[in-house]
Amino acid sequence: MRRLVPFVVACSLCAALAAVLALVLARGGVDTDLTAFVPTPGGDVPEALRDELRAGLSERVILAGIRGGGVADRIRASRALRQKLAGQPGVARVVNGPASAAPDGLDALMPYRYLLSPEVTPERFREDALRRALAERRRELAGLLGGVDRERLRADPTGELRAVLRQLRPEVTPATRNGIWVTDQEEHALLVIESRHDGTDLDAQQRLLDAVRAAFGEAAGDASLELVLTGQPVFAVQSRARIQATIARVSVIGGVLLVALLLWAYRSVTAIPLVAVPLLSALVAGAGVVVALFGSVHGMTLAFGGTLVGVAVDYAVHLFSHRRSGEPAQRAMIRIWPTIRLGALTTVAGYGAMVLSGVAGLMQLGVFAAAGLVAAALTTRWLLPAIVPEAPTRRHLPGPAWLDAAPPRAGRWLVVAAAVAGLGTVAGHGDRLWQDDPAAMNPVPRSLQEEDARLRSALGRADMRHLVLVSGAGAQQVLRRLEALEPSFRALVADGVVAGVDHPAGVLPSRATQLRRREALPAPDVLQRRLARAGQAQGFRDGAFTPFVEAVEAARSRDPLTIDDLEGTPLADLVQGQLVRAQGRWWGVARLRGVGDAQALAARLADAPVPGVMHLDLKAQAEAGLVRLRHHVLGYSLAGAVVMLALLGAGLRSLREAGAVWLPALLAAPSAAAILLAAGQRLSIFHLVSLLLVVGLSLDYALFFRRRGEDALARAQTRRALLVCGASTLGMFALLAGSDLSVLRDIGRTVTLGAALGLLFGWLVSARR
């Protein structure tokens, strides 16, 4: 019964720590905004505008394709699916064809047609132009059988509403069959579903996706149809599910292996929860300090930081391994504490260097790792000895005899040779070293990405990559500047640099432009006179166009439409996210479609005759951001490595001894990287962070391998402790290496390789002369 007490205490402690961690995270909140990790040159795009751009671009849009069955089945299912989804709480809009794509209530624009139409000039209302317009209307009357909209024809014979609508409609529209969007070969019926929820609200997106699938099940009926869903919400939800599933699998299998390992090594159930105590303390302290300093913790900080403090598991293992028969845990702790303390301090300094980077995400990561490791070391020193059961059950730890083998005399030269080969391989890879394409790190499976590209191109929704931002003191200034850019945009299209440009001034002209158009409208008596002659010439009866004359007269005194009047009109949706107020300025966003040569585009836009113009290549920005992030991590890690050497020198009171610990630990990283590179991989930021963990682990290995002033028993205990440390780390990360998610696989492979090399190098240099 007494032996059960420590077990219960340890378990309760773990549960309490887990509860505190959950509380801290719930209190502070977890961000997922990646820009925290992407260093940007100061102040070019305001944060608020970034948010707006992201929200307006693609985060809420689900693309759906229905395939299988016959064409008629697919079209029927598309109609039924739209009907079932429309009006569901999470759904903002469902579009499956041109009829549903047209914004509602465009008739509200009818009164403004003479101010909004780009065709309105004085020439348009001269007698000859009116005559040509009426001749066209007369031909239109022929129609196929009839059914011509005579009211529209009488009120708008010059076709201004049509000109306005042309501005609003996207130029690329999908093919259709019976009014339903289909891919070119008609093998998919296409729908676009807009979620009402934020892209980051994954639970809401998950519910929406479930609702869509359920509705599709009903819509498909007996037909053997299949639903393909893609788009950001789908990717985000799927990635989360896959990551959770992988982590769950790794945790269960790894947990069983770890439990077996600990039971074999220590014959004690209490060891199992105790090993987790320093790790959980590290997570609580890391998250707590980050929340206290930054207000919230980033999801990436949690993931990367959790990886970096993984070394804390080893602290408890050392305590268990180094106890002698009948010795109180406290005394064993005191013996190994200097080594653990030096290892923790050195690692804290190494990781903590990232705090100086100035990049919010990396600062968080540095703080998290430093606070976490300090907490883990302190917990190991002051808390664990108090809980560990009284007497160890065995005199000697199990383990094969080769564990005690001395390394070859040429050990250190082997390390040097391996490290030189590793560094040579890394250097030899030059420009094939880094993976800077964010798409390659995408956890979404390639088949789904291809499906997405297919649906996207069929729907004419190319990913928005190139934007032109135009800023100004007020909305009107922005609109005037966009209008001044219009000739440049047209030239870009004419020269084939871009396929098309959509910008808010095309939808909502500036006040000045609207007033100029108003000036172009003739007085009623003038218009009446010209119209009478033109109408007679084309055979229209008198008074056929009275509504037209009245409308022009009304437009002559109509106030221009401004952004304040848009509330509740279909234009509000179209301008939303394209005309944005951020940090006291207004920003207009022009979207460029079909950009072939990004450099040519940038050069042409640099010559734009308008101030306040900025070209934004979102993909290039993301890539450049990753490169900068990598430079920062690499630079501050190297600086951290120098600090580590200095600390080791001070701690071990010998620079030579410090070097013997520091070099093998540090060299394990490039050697692991070299193996990955030789296997054809490129290194991403995920590899890099994993290599930081490798350095931390290897440093502890090397420190313990070279512990001095101990007897043969202590040395045997150290070897066995390192065996358990290494086996637990290698086991966990080898399981991750088998994941089908590239990110987790990269982390798993890197740490497995690196930790194995760290152990090997540590052993090879462990001999003293």
């Binding site: 064809g97 041109p98 009829a99 047209a102 007369r138 031909r139 239109e140 009357l141 022929a142 129609g143 196929l144 059988l145 009839g146 059914g147 011509v148 909209d149 005579r150 024809l153 009488r154 529209t173 259709t176 069959r177 019976n178 009014g179 007679q536 055979g539 229209f540 009866r541 008198d542 056929a544």
Partner: protein, 207 residues
């Protein structure tokens, strides 16, 4: 349509009695049946076999917006199942072409492309014309209440629009013909405008 035979089956006796009555009684106005053994179903089945053709037409158009009636001539082209083209010759000449859901209006440089489902009334007019040519009863019923009168040698089809946008503008379309050939299309609009298109065969089938 699909529910009708089922009802017949359930109330088989009543149906048989009605059919017997129809056979003996002269009931030329009976919707969809006509007299004798030629009815809407037979006409549609006959039309469905036509793969295409070309015809000339002459159209008399009384439009409320025009001072005088207009007379147009031109050609019609049909290719099963979903291509129709109406070309008006002369001073008011222009082409209107519908292929699937896409409409092209005008010739040469002066072309406009639109989508029939963006214009409900246009979709209705296209359906009346194209679905009749193709014998596509299901599409016709989406837009119209249909009445068939007469027999093989002289039949009349009357379409009355049932959907809002179409019914606002169009009062009815009356199509006359003999066998599977169409000879006249008369259109009456709600504002009093009307037109009569006479079709003369210039090949097989379109008219």
């Amino acid at each position: 349509m699909s529910r009708r035979p089922a009802r017949c089956h359930r109330a088989g006796a009543l149906c048989a009695w009605l059919l017997a009555l129809a056979a003996v009684a002269p009931a030329p106005s009976m919707a969809e049946h006509g007299n004798g053994d030629w009815g809407l179903a037979e006409l549609m089945a006959a039309r469905a076999e036509v793969t295409g053709g070309r015809a000339r037409f002459r159209e008399e158009h009384h439009d409320e917006l025009l001072a005088e009636p207009v007379e147009r001539t031109g050609t019609l082209v049909y290719r099963a199942p979903d291509y129709v083209r109406k070309t008006v010759t002369g001073t008011d000449g222009r082409t209107l072409e519908v292929h699937g859901d896409r409409v092209r209006v005008g010739d040469g440089d002066d072309q406009r492309r639109l989508h029939i489902h963006e214009h409900p009334a246009l979709a209705g007019a296209v359906a009346a014309f194209r679905a009749t040519l193709a014998g596509d009863l299901a599409t016709l019923r989406e837009h119209y209440a249909i009445r068939f009168q007469g027999g093989h040698d002289d039949w009349t089809l009357t379409y009355r629009p049932t959907t809002g946008a179409l019914a606002e503008r169009l009062e009815r379309i009356v199509i006359r013909g003999r066998g599977r050939a169409i000879s006249e299309v008369e259109t009456r609009e709600t504002d009093g405008s009307w037109r009569l298109m006479r079709i003369s065969r210039a090949g097989d089938g379109a008219g």
